[in-house]
Amino acid sequence: MNIKIDKEKCIGCGTCVALCPEVFDIGEDGKSYVKNPNGKCDNIEEVINACPVGAISVEKD
């Protein structure tokens, strides 16, 4: 999975970290980054929809 975070849009609220802590984390800049694209995440669609600013997208290989 190629997960992309739009850093311009991201507000660093941690919603994605809450839903998939193995994949996402908050970096030193206070914004989300992909820690491990292969981490366990039950429902990436849910994360994409829950992000309040629509900063997450997935490119299908």
Partner: protein, 340 residues
């Protein structure tokens, strides 16, 4: 209040523990704080969706001005997104698209204080949603309330920054801090979209440090937020860090919002957790949302004498003298009966 410039027109909100970083024009997770041209604004200042007198027991506060009324106000929005929220029509109004602009009737802090006095309240409670999301209005109101000999209480999820606690502390007398799902981080992540629980514990410590009177609730959600191990850990943390006299309310869950498919928490489960909390050493443990349970009453932990009788939100002080001692054995009971 409680924000900083990061660079250019980018600001960081330091009110709740999410600490959102906002570009010009962006709103935070709460949807009620917006960066406009490099300044962070509270969009819902003075816009109230509730303003009424409640028994203070409803907050719940059982050891703080018992038998009095608290004028209770709220603005729409929240920094959580709980799938089980019982006030979701107001807390999630913006997220659910139920409103396209800020809702609520406009009040000034002076008007709120005046209404509180007219309704013979002894306190103002900032409640129903999360007071952190209407912090500036709460702050301004609390300041005037004190001058009029009214106490101030927050009912909060605790997910604020230590700076926020410190800022409101000079006007805040009491706080009801609500845990969900026995304080399990996994539960908070999945059902409240909150990445970590640590900030809640940090807030509690900061409240204690600042002399704010604390009561704690825990919403037990059947099947997904009712782990006994998590419950024991929560109780132990409270005893170790805040002491065994903290009033602790175990709340029954009723199906709401996105968790409408779950049953209410079985009363037997709540009774079991009640026993556990007592056994671990908490002196004042209550069951909430279980009407007519005798486990809503306050008993003397020393001699077992009935001190305060409660039925629903009706309460009667029976075994406590004016100095807050048990009439039977003289044990000093940590109940605040007077502020001013």
């Amino acid at each position: 209040m409680l924000w900083e410039k990061v660079k250019d027109k980018i600001v960081k909100c330091n009110l709740c523990a999410r600490r959102c970083i906002l570009n010009d024009g962006q709103v935070g997770f709460c949807l009620v704080r917006k960066n406009i041209n490099g300044t962070l604004y509270s969009l819902n200042y003075g816009k109230l969706i509730a303003a009424n007198a409640d028994p203070i027991e409803k907050k719940p506060l059982f050891h703080f001005l018992p038998g009095t009324y608290a004028f209770s106000i709220s603005s729409a929005g929240c920094n959580f997104r709980c799938a089980f929220c019982q006030n979701w029509e107001i807390s999630q109004v913006y997220r659910e698209g139920l409103a396209s602009e800020i809702v609520g009737e406009t009040y000034t802090p002076e008007e709120v204080v005046k209404l509180a006095i007219e309704n013979e309240c002894k306190a103002i409670s900032y409640t129903y949603t999360e007071p952190t999301i209407f912090f500036e209005f709460a702050y301004d109101t609390a300041k005037i309330a004190i001058r009029n000999k009214l106490a101030n209480t927050f009912v909060t999820n605790g997910y604020m920054t230590p700076e926020a606690v410190k800022t409101i502390a000079k006007y805040l007398h009491a706080a009801t801090v609500d845990f969900k799902g026995n304080g399990s981080e996994e539960f908070y992540r999945k059902y409240s979209l909150v990445p970590k629980v640590e900030p809640i514990f940090d807030s509690l410590l900061e409240m204690k440090k600042n002399g704010i009177f604390i009561e704690i609730t825990d919403l037990v959600v059947p099947k997904i937020g009712d782990s006994e191990e998590d419950f024991r850990n929560l109780v132990k943390w409270i005893i170790d860090n805040l002491g065994s006299d903290i009033p602790f309310h175990i709340l029954r869950f009723f199906p709401h919002y996105r968790l409408s498919n779950l049953p209410p928490t079985p009363v037997e489960k709540l009774e079991k957790l009640w026993e556990m909390a007592k056994r671990e050493g908490l002196n004042y443990v209550y069951l909430g949302n279980v009407p007519y349970s005798e486990k809503e009453n306050t008993y003397c932990p020393h001699c077992g004498n009935l001190l305060i009788e409660r039925r629903g939100f009706y309460s009667r002080i029976v075994g406590l003298d004016k100095k807050g001692r048990c009439k039977k054995c003289g044990e000093k009971i940590p109940i605040v009966q007077k502020i001013f």
